[in-house]
Symmetry: C2
């Protein structure tokens, strides 16, 4: 079977870019990806693009043709929207398209502009990823939804705010050297504990920020990489996607995320790896508790043990399984439609050894990316490996 290689990755700095339209952000990320890949734009067969809330933040849907133009490619271009997993599904379809032989070179990624909205409008905009009829109209926005999940987790397994603060502190520390991160400063556990509440038990540093940014990946078939003598040592060897009921009230247990478990199971089978094989992971920590649930769904720890993983050092930069060495959504930032592509870009840099945090994972061979939509009603998992 055709193997899919990551030929190049490109990111904008994540943060606030009030002076740049969305198309400008994606153009910048794509330019970096083409330069990194040493692939000509004319070679691109398809563009798979993720965006979540452009209809609200830029009065702009139908963004795929615009982004093809911005990226300088002329080819079929498709937008994927799966809330915060929009770029994840865009990448997944790119992987499957290259594997099927329908394309040799696909540009995949995403973009989001959010900081041009005020906090209220951004919060309402994000809420369209939840169930309008049965959640949003009842007053639930995402901090509240994840607070409910955190409470359910604490009730089932124990743990407390201090455990979550360790997740925040870890990810902020990881972001410091990352040139693309929004918040490159350390946050101590005590500082996180002292921050104002957002939705109890979640406080300010339990939540990811509002972010502008873009990600782009040049994905190619192994035969294309060989023919064109590309330096593309990282392969996407596994892809999986899962779907759950949308509203928390319709789920049997909100202290777990079965869509992510389904996605991970599929991706591991696809790659023929086990959780124990994984050396490094980027997971969807839109809230600190989301990282806890993610590492359980990914099988890195047993149920009920995710809560202590950061505190105990398992997932810290020098732990056995570093999680979110990029800084994660928490500190690197979360431009919703770009995040799934950014995770793959960061893992690629870590596995290639050219990430500023790569010295924490010398010799790493297997990486996993976990991208979730809403309260994990959607999840996409990818396995990356250093090709032999």
């Amino acid at each position: 079977m055709t193997e899919v290689r990551v030929a190049g990755v490109g990111l904008t700095r994540f943060g606030s870019h009030p002076e740049r339209a969305g198309r400008d952000l994606f153009a910048a990320a794509a330019s970096r990806a083409f330069a990194d890949a040493d692939v000509d734009r004319g070679a691109v067969d398809e563009l798979n693009y993720g965006n979540f809330m452009g209809a609200l933040s830029e009065n702009q849907s139908h963004q795929a043709p615009l982004m093809a133009e911005a990226a300088g490619v002329r080819c079929p271009a498709t937008r994927y929207e799966e809330a915060c997993a929009s770029a994840g599904v865009a990448v997944r379809e790119a992987v499957r398209t290259v594997r099927s032989g329908a394309a040799d070179v696909v540009l995949a990624g995403g973009m989001e502009r959010m900081t041009n909205l005020d906090t209220g409008a951004a919060t309402e905009g994000l809420a369209i990823a939840a169930d309008d009829l049965f959640e949003v109209r009842s007053g639930v926005t995402f901090p509240g939804a994840y607070a409910l999940m955190a409470r359910a987790y604490f009730d089932a397994h124990g743990g407390d705010r201090r455990d979550l603060a360790h997740v925040a502190s870890k990810n902020h520390a990881n972001a410091v050297p990352n040139e693309f991160a929004q918040y490159r400063r350390e946050v101590s556990v005590e500082e996180a504990l002292d921050a104002p509440p957002v939705a109890t038990p979640l406080h300010l540093y339990d939540a990811c920020p509002i972010t502008d940014g873009a990600s782009a990946l040049v994905l190619v078939s192994d035969s294309y990489a060989e023919t064109h003598d590309l330096d593309a040592p990282v392969a996407v060897t596994g892809t999986g996607q899962g779907t759950d009921r949308m509203a928390l009230a319709d789920r049997a247990d909100v202290a777990r995320t079965p869509a992510a478990t389904d996605a991970a199971t599929t991706a591991y089978d696809d790659a023929d790896v086990a959780p124990d094989d994984v050396d490094v992971a980027e997971v969807h920590d839109c809230f600190t508790v989301a990282e806890v649930l993610a590492i359980e769904s990914l099988g890195f720890v047993d149920r009920g043990e995710g809560i202590s993983a950061a505190r105990d050092g398992l997932t810290t930069a020098d732990g056995d399984l570093p999680v979110n060495l990029s800084g994660g959504l928490k500190a690197k930032g979360h431009p919703v439609g770009a995040t799934g592509g950014s995770q793959i870009a960061e893992l690629t840099r870590l596995l290639r050894g050219d990430h500023p945090n790569a010295d924490h994972v010398p010799g790493a061979e297997v990486g996993v990316a976990h991208n979730a939509g809403g309260t994990v009603a959607s999840a996409v998992v990818h396995v990356l490996e250093v090709a032999e």
Copy 2:
């Protein structure tokens, strides 16, 4: 290679459904598709779903998990957004997924709710499919954009409002027997000519209406159809997609639609058919002039000859190549995110012989669907054939 069969199709009546949420509409279409296919919901491997403006009309993005739930399927579910071609790209990816062997059964379709918005809000909502920075802020909405295309066409090739009125009158006549159509009444050429102007030279009957509705298709591999003894005589044998620059001002010639030409060329090559082989077509007549441009891009007539095709009877119900026997977007209605799936459903019924207008195309073996986004910045073309 695996051949993709249309095992079943389902539609809601197109029109105004103020009492039904979007999820209800899609559930109804999916139920009909499963019944038509005689396929169990549990067999569905993936859901590919198109929606355009749910963020505005229902305060609801991230619709794919909701629609999976509504349709009673539990599987990876993905939303595609490509303006008015949203369901077209959803179907295209479903076809490619089945062909690749990654799935045996895919539910594909789409939904749009629009009539709950007032005309001004609906017009502004539709405008997010155009370029916000360089078109919408200058005051261009879609009636104006297609009026510019009509003027450019008249300047290049001649023709007048009467020619366009023949397109409207033809499609309204076709809609009369269609139980799913929004406007089941005849409109004479004179009535169309006498209607009030919308954007000169386009008048009221040159424009499609605002519509609620949903479409669903059960697409299966030929081996699945055989194993499960399904009656699925229609195959999707060709798929193609094209992309153009978004803003009309950036195009060399706005009296043609090269994205559709690209999509058609790819789809014909894929199916190994030529335009002359086509017996019946459903094309994207959001405005009458769009049908003129479509049949030229599809190669049914030479450039400059599309304008007279309805008037001369080529594309009427009893012509050599009937176009929009469903009534088209013009009279059947245009629930944006559902339209691409509806076209495939209507063609399937025509090729199977169970469409109320099927007696106009006895023995038809090859059908073509043309679905466009915006001012054809995106286009998707599918070829359907009666399987041997």
